[in-house]
Amino acid sequence: MLRDARIYQILFLALFLTLGIGTRDWTLHPRMILTAIATCLTTQAIATWVVGRVRSQESESEGNIQNSKFTWADSPETKIQNSPEPQPPITNSQSLIPNFPSPGSPSPTPCPLSPTGLLSPLITSLGLSLLLRTEHYSTMVLAGSVAILSKFVLRVQDKHLFNPGNIGIVAAVLLTQDAWISPGQWGEESWYALVFLGAGGIVLQRVGRWDTTVAFLGAYGFLEALRNVWLGWTWDVWAHRLMSGSLLLFALFMVTDPRTIPNDRTARLLWAGAIALLTFVLRNVFFIPTAVFWALFVLSPLTLLLDAVWQAPRFEWRRAVKS
């Protein structure tokens, strides 16, 4: 039942949302969360249907009808690996990843209206609700639809160019006059940090992408430590900067989205390091409080390049089911 790491992710995000609304001073209305969820699910359904139609028409025109039936499970984030090029051998660490289908493993039979197709948009909508603030439902609708559509439109070789939640937030902030992000919304209390680390650890361990979080937090923490030493601040300043609940949430739940980050571990480490460096620069040189989101947005497309240099099997959420 809980083999899909996304279910854990949804549970934890819902927990944080509840915690945030219950214990933090958020101006977040349940209706806004429902709007985000409804938008993401609807957009996903429509886009999936459209893509399915297009594909079936294409295959019909080629006289090939074997893939004409489209289902939820066939949506971009659950599509099963079917890469024509030869795969490099799976490394030790990758073999731990439960969701990797080994090359040539049989695809699970797509089940019409399978709920697994709903998991990703649900995660995106919960992420948007946690991070994006707005007073208008239309803004949330915009963020949600851009987030989901980006997965269908902005993709190269079956991989998303941008993290859906991230591009949704960026679109809302850039395109409307009433969206904002509250970087200080979680505060810097240690027990929140522990909850985030614990929950994030469980998800990442299942997804096998903990290396990205470690690289990001490690690199960012290191840069901030250098700055701290250089400026001569006491270490509580450093700790305060790193204990930010928003930063941890980002490091554990956004930067690690396996469908938008490089496949190979070396590439991932480089990529996370680059995001950390850019975040550091944006925050300390340009004084942008929401630096992490911009850094991720700007560097997301780098994944393509890194994947081209370091090839590795692509990540799949669903465990290959033996027929």
Binding site: R24, D25, T27, R133, T134, E135, T176, Q177, D178, A179, W180, S182, P183, G184, Q185, W186, G187, E188, E189, W230, L231, G232, W233, T234, D236, V237, A239, H240, R241, S244, F286, F287, I288, P289, T290
Partner: protein, 458 residues
């Protein structure tokens, strides 16, 4: 919320005076008194008008020592020239304070047996005195890596803008020039020097001060362009003996301002409290603030007010006029009529907006809980908020109809509820509160009803 208000009087009590009185000023920097004046710096008020990178920062001054002893050192992001520094208007700060202060609102229950009556509202603004004072600074000479970037006199202040290469040099320079540096300041100067920040050093020019015949030091206002939207707290904590209060009025064209590196939390608001609080509002607000501050972990910024400058409801003071806003540092009203995008199609009523949104933040800070300087950002959040406490006066006349009897029977429960709310907000003893309640038989509540009320809260 409820439908029984007939006559409404909003009563405004200015809270800031509670915190500002008898304290000295120095959040941004520290006092460098030249005599052993008894210096405390526990409260300060700052108005920040900001649009884009342009910032107009007005520091209101409640220094309580001898004027000749006044001197401050404040890190600033850029070198300020004479035309960028001016003497601000004390009245503007007082007006911002009055406009945004937490408030008490009174409602009077109607006669439950009388037919529905329309209600009217009569705001009664109350004024609060503003106390201020000042001090002085010193002058120059080079070596030690300290450069006097600018030197000028503005109003009653002699001002130096210093840049320094290292903290030891700056400390020595300040000491050699007669400034009394608090112990431990040296380590704190270094991070600012390394961030290439400059030091704004001000002292009082006694001649100017006497000539002008001022009683108090006036606020200092600086204008600069910098992406840094912050207030340096750390230096101010060097000679702080206890928690300090800082009231920040942020004026933006967009919406609420927030602190980005600490939580911004709304003060409790909208609570119904017993009517005797009217006479003890200062004590009530102080206790309530302290209780909330402790409950939230002592490391947060409280939002006390967030409103468009076009209106208020109820008003604790009239909204600031265009001229007063300019006095408070708002500079974008001069630019060709580009008010907020929402305003143009509408006239005043539906969505009045003046192009200025005020956020009042109240920070009580100590060294252990605020390791970093305060960083802010302006958001597009136009949600209105005010710290507001409600007094509901019961109808005490004779009520003979059945509805009236029911109303009278409901009073003890309501009083108890208000007492519980008050106890919870302030931490005051519930028994003491009950003793001050109006004459309705509180005893008529059974123990389980009281328990239920206590558990269910306000």
């Amino acid at each position: 919320m409820k439908l029984f208000q007939t006559l409404t009087i909003s009563l405004l009590v200015l809270i800031s005076s509670l915190f500002v009185a008898t304290k000295a000023w120095a959040f941004c920097g520290f006092y460098v008194a030249k005599a052993d004046a008894n210096l405390y710096n526990q409260a300060s008020q700052v108005a920040i008008a900001r649009s884009g990178n342009r910032t107009v920062l007005t520091m209101a001054n409640d220094y309580q020592g001898e004027v000749k002893d006044f001197a401050i050192v404040v890190p600033v992001p850029v070198v300020l020239k004479k035309e960028q520094v001016e003497v601000g208007s004390p009245k503007a700060i007082a007006r911002l304070d009055a406009f945004s202060a937490p408030r008490l609102v009174e409602y009077f229950d109607p006669d439950p047996c009388a037919p529905q009556v329309s209600f009217e509202r009569m705001p009664l603004p109350a004024a609060a005195p503003q106390s201020r004072r000042d001090g002085a600074a010193q002058r120059d000479r080079n070596s030690l890596g300290v450069t006097i970037e600018e030197k000028f006199t503005v109003g009653e202040y002699d001002i130096l803008i210093l840049s320094a290469k290292e903290s030891g040099g700056l400390e020595t320079w300040l000491i050699e020039n007669g400034y009394k540096i608090p112990q431990g300041a040296r380590d704190l100067l270094r991070p600012y020097i390394r961030q290439k920040m400059k030091f704004f050093v001000a002292k009082v020019n006694l001649k100017e001060f006497k000539q002008a015949g001022y009683q108090n030091l006036r606020p200092i206002r600086m204008t600069y362009d910098s992406p840094r939207f912050m207030l340096p707290l750390r230096l101010g904590m060097v000679n702080a003996k206890s928690a300090q209060d800082l009231l920040v009025y942020v004026l933006t064209p967009t919406g609420q301002a927030e602190v980005t590196n600490y939580r911004t939390v709304k003060v409790p608001s909208g609570n119904e409290v017993p009517t005797f609080v009217k006479n003890e509002f200062n004590a009530f607000y102080k206790s309530m603030f302290q209780t909330s501050y402790e409950r939230e972990g002592r490391n947060i910024a409280f939002l006390e007010y967030a409103w468009d400058m076009a209106n208020c409801d109820p008003c604790s003071a009239e909204p600031l006029s265009r001229e007063e806003l300019k006095d408070a540092g708002v500079f974008w009203l001069d630019q060709p009529e580009v008010p907020s995008p929402l305003s143009s199609p509408f006239r005043r009523r539906p969505m009045p907006t003046s192009g200025v949104f005020i956020t009042r933040l109240h920070v009580r800070y100590t060294r252990d809980k605020f390791p970093e300087d305060l960083m802010f950002h302006a958001t597009n959040n136009r949600e209105l908020f005010q710290g507001r406490y409600v007094l509901r006066y019961p109808f005490m006349g004779e009520a003979t109809c059945s509805q009236g009897k029911q109303y009278v029977r409901s009073l003890p429960r309501r009083f108890e509820q208000e007492a519980q709310t008050l106890a919870k907000l302030t931490g005051w003893n519930i028994q003491d509160i009950r003793n001050k309640l109006p004459n309705a038989q509180v005893q008529s509540l059974s123990w389980w009803e009281q328990l239920w009320l206590a558990l269910s809260g306000s």
